[in-house]
Amino acid sequence: MREKVKPEEKTEELTKACPTCFEVPIGPIHPALKEGIRFTFWIEGERIRKVDIRPGFMHRGIEFMGTKRNLIQVLYLAERICGICSISHPLAIVQAVEQAAGIEVPPRAQYIRVIIGELERIHSHLLWAGVAAHELGFDTLLHYVWKVREPVLDILEDLTGNRIDYAIPIYGGVRRDVPPEKYPKLKDALRYYRSLVDDFVNFFLRDPSIEARTRGVGVLTSEEADSLCAVGPTARASGLRKDVRQDWPYFAYPDLEVKALTPEDMGLEVRGDVYDRIVVRLLEVVQSIELIEQCLEEMPEGEITAFPKVAALLAHLKKAEGEGVGRHEAPRGEVIHYIRLEAGEEAPAVWKVKAPTYSNLMPWYPMFRDQEIADIPIVAASIDPCICCMERVQIVCDGKAETLLKDELLRLSWAKTERVASRVTRQVSPGRGG
């Protein structure tokens, strides 16, 4: 049993360490968040001196539910762990189950899995770019980015039948082929995104206000990223060349020779701030486009699943015994699924999931250190969690509680952009700057 620490005791202890600080709790609960979370900031003036993060409010018991269902039902449950990485969790669990049950996957299915996974990375990074622009107060950019995100969702709907929750992977292969008739449409979309790259670099990386708001903000050094086990773009922005697709290649990735990208690949010095995280995500969109093009060229003909009959698959899985681990590089970082199967049981005996945001929680501590209150939204968003925990802020000052809504935090952030922008540019105000 874990030793119980009363929250009040812990708070008291931290307050003693910084007697002139205000305590600013954010959270703890928002239904739209996959990991409901509470931040408590200790603030001195405008600066954050200390932060405490408490996760665990939104436990849904999905793993427990999984042990009550057969594996095909578990697959669709895994898809619903996250709405945005809705293929990453199925891709990880199919690897785990295929390892446990000893299923060989046909090569064409491996390529199709990579294509859908990379398309998802494009849409997820664009979604993040829009959210980041919104946190900074550039709503024009938010609407622009989300507008250009639509074509990739249309392509996903065309290939899989749904914009989100594609239901494409199954144990032993994929459920739908990508027929050659669909290549031209897919290539058109990729060409469209390629033509947008220059615009994105202009809007995000050459904009003086964005640079002023993100350079040197939320810094995570490479030593900290390494020791705190950051994953995904958060780690790569700090200069760690860490990517599951490079380090432990799976599916068709060994043939594609993926390299982990850091800001150095764009000729920039690695500083590990929010700006670098934007750089890495833009680079990864380009990388994903290249990977899909390569897949379309190299994709072999053949079967798309090892078990054309689902009933045969069910029977095979019922007999299987063993354990397996599946790892996939989701847009946010590494996702791991562990599964143990027992012969004669349809349901898995154990199912354990680790989502990337979980690894990226700890890097929040160094990132928030000595930042301003107005930087909380963009620093929190920079690791790409579900930002909805910003719903409510409570400032406790001299025993009086004052509630700050998310609007208020955003207003603070926008006001800061306006101040910074007027210093660095020719009086461009956010939202209207275009």
């Binding site: 057969n70 669709y76 929750d165 239901a167 689902v310």
Partner: protein, 130 residues
């Protein structure tokens, strides 16, 4: 950039679903009545793609009552009717994964293109397939 985008906006059609009537009718029910009589037309929704997974269609005659669809359904949409050896589906629970379509040995289930399924009553005739 901005003027080009604004200018192009004049000539591009909206990508979203348009309002079903050209102008807001004074009475919605009256308008729907006219549509049924054939006097007015509804602006159709944006068509879905060919492989779209919509409401599941059920061919009662083909069904042999093997219950495989009940075993694989992740949302427990499907109920077995033992006296007739047929199934009943509650569409409101459906996640549209179409796994039942894949597993059906006789092809009694199929994907349809229907997706406008909002209703006040979750047991409305449109939402219970049997």
């Amino acid at each position: 950039m901005i003027f080009k985008a604004l200018f192009l906006q004049l000539f591009t059609r909206p990508v979203t679903n348009r309002f079903p009537a050209k102008y807001m009718p004074t009475s919605v029910l009256g308008f729907l009545g006219k549509v049924q009589e054939g006097k007015a037309k509804i602006v159709p929704p944006v068509p879905v793609t060919e492989g779209f997974r919509g409401k599941i269609a059920y061919d009662r005659e083909k069904c042999i009552g093997c219950q495989l669809c009940i075993r694989v359904c992740p949302a427990q949409v499907i109920e077995f009717k033992p006296e007739e050896k047929k199934i009943r589906m509650y569409v409101t629970r459906c996640t549209y994964c179409a796994q039942c379509v894949d597993v059906c040995p006789v092809g009694a289930l199929s994907r349809s293109q229907e997706f406008l399924l909002a209703d006040y009553d979750r047991f409305a005739s449109n939402l219970v397939v049997e």
